[in-house]
Amino acid sequence: MFDPSPYRSQIAAECDFDPYREGLTRREVGRMDRVAQFAAVSADQCLADSGLDARTLPRERTGTSVGTAVGCTMSLDHEYAVVSDEGREWTVDPAYGVPHLFDYMVPSSIVREVAWRSGAEGPAAVISTGCTSGLDAVGHGAAAIREGAADVMLAGAADAPISPITVACFDAIKATTPDNDEPESASRPFDLRRSGFVLGEGGAMFVLEELGHARRRGARIYAEVAGFATRSNAYHMTGLRPDGREMAEAVRTALDQARLNTDQIDYINAHGSGTKQNDRHETAAVKRVFGDRAYTTPMSSLKSMVGHSLGAIGSIEIAASVLAIRNDTVPPTANLREADPECDLDYVPLTAREQRTDTVLSVGSGFGGFQSALVLNGKGGEG
């Protein structure tokens, strides 16, 4: 998407995405940043998959909840270069400001696109808790239904962070991998030779529905959002303590809500970003809650294959978790050839595993100190 040669980390997981092929109009593409396009297209897909449409959707009882960490950062980066004449002017020139610049500044514009195209007129929110946004937006959507604010929530997340400013700031803290020669194997969560994460992009949206509402219309139910919790580490904006205490607390709370104990969890979808501090932090967190069960509960990182799409990844991981339930197969951690001795759990290395999968715990961790946990129960749905 741009020339990466001046950067330390030069690889990324880009989506093969043509907005026109996905049905967006020139006008929609003209006003939407790539992140909004991801959200819009994902929303169309999930609605179509749910069997609901503009006619049958209960508009006033349908809300929207979209997570994003860095919003319209690609457009902000590009438009800044235009209005500032590539950084030459501090008092930037308004004559070069594009009409949708405010929408790029304020990412609530992303959820507007989802609401407009679906016809949802209930509560709308953009959830922007950094890299846990994708879990938190779904948690927020489920809470809206539990609290009675909506019967249906279009919830999920999108991010399109592959822009010069994002790559530069991750370079500065050496969070992303410098292994530019072998992109496919550069993301190596839990591996001894891991070297940081690979930036990604994308989106995933879900139709969440009050259970009775879904049953009455005979909807196919993938799974129930059975528990969700978020905690802060109150420690550091980018650092994690190795003990995993706060993530463990979020996991415990989410399991309590789901009324499940650790031996009833079939699969853990890890944050698994592939930084040393993350992999150890999250391994410690899982051990804290699961005890001996930690060693026998499969836990894998999708980021080994799709990279880290910041706020979007939590929802993409929920989608993968739902499919794990659907297909009784858990996805692998790719590129895990020699585990870090400090990371001694069952990370499902290299190949997917067929196994009965009814319940999934998905965890996330993000800048700002946010730790989130979400529990899916596939038995709660079709029963």
Binding site: Y7, P94, S108, W116, A229, G368
Partner: protein, 409 residues
Amino acid sequence: MAAAVTGLGIAAPTGLGIEDCWSAMLDGRSAIRTVSRFEAERYPVRLAGQVPDFVPSEHVPKRLLPQTDRETRLALMAAEWALEDAGVDTGQRDEYDMGVITASTSGGFEFGQGELQKLWSKGPGYVSAYQSFAWFYAVNTGQISIRNGMRGPSGVLVSEQAGGLDAVAQARGQLRRGTGLLVTGGLDASICPWGWVAQMARGDMSRERHPERAYLPFDRAASGYVPGEGGAVLVLEESEAVRERGQHSYGTIAGYGATFDPAPGSGRQPGLRRAIEVALADAGMEPEEVGVVFADGAGLPEADMAEALAISAVFGARTDPVPVTVPKTMTGRLYSGGSALDLAIALLCLDRGVIPPTANVTDPVPGLRLDLVLGEPRPAEPASALVLARGHGGFNSAMVLRASDTAPH
């Protein structure tokens, strides 16, 4: 149970702290001035509500100065004041029993401008490591939780001007689910050239040069809005626990409703009226019980009319009209900080028994059917207040507050 507000921290153009801001608003002293932070002469829009006399080093640890945008410095100060006001000693509480949920509209935008300039003029190697978190929308929640050792539930909402109400509503939800204390609200600050040009792109900022004529919601001379910076932080606690420790409460969050407007051209009605109705139903209140409405006050003829219609649709059947006020005429629109500040001012209004006025509006549009509080503060003893906020793009949020002595036991 009820969600009681025990602490307020205010950083507003009309003043730092509760007393400075409140007395300015009762006097009707507007803080809208020509922008001083950059060369505003270059731009056709030059007025803003800027937070005065804020010296960051007096309120923020030196270590945090290089890594924080102005909005975060204001937020850290306001959070500290709110906790102090609530009489909370964070060291004496369970760290998981305290959470932080804030709204943000633009993140640390001025910080972001600095780093974008380095990127484009010097190269990627000059971008600060702090850019990885100092500009993003979650920064205030993260920094407040770290500074105060709060490890409970966290949250960040972006819904432009409606964000302040949406964050407080999410905080109330966490309180109901068992967290004992929530620091919530919203703070925004994007008065830098890059933020200015982004805001101008909306096309609805006022180009009027006279500060007292620039932002006139519901007035015949309405010509757009004036932006501002700042906001408010609130401390929420469960009302029973507040009574037990003998702490003063400003009032309770009694009801909340949020809707989204249909797409343009759909022929369907906008959602503000329904947001008000949902909020009243949530509070278990009839329109007759509302003592004052803090309106959104867009400052644009069409949007003002739509708001007036929504208010009169809900309250029009009353024998005594409900007083409506827009104190943000003195600060400009502060985005998510604006609705948080409106909540703080509405709570002070309930606590102190006087309604702050709408400044500068002298010639309301005929036929609005609103009892606007103009010019002078109005003595009143409202038992409850309704705060409205509309976020750019179609967000409608309404929150009902109840005076503390009328909170259900």
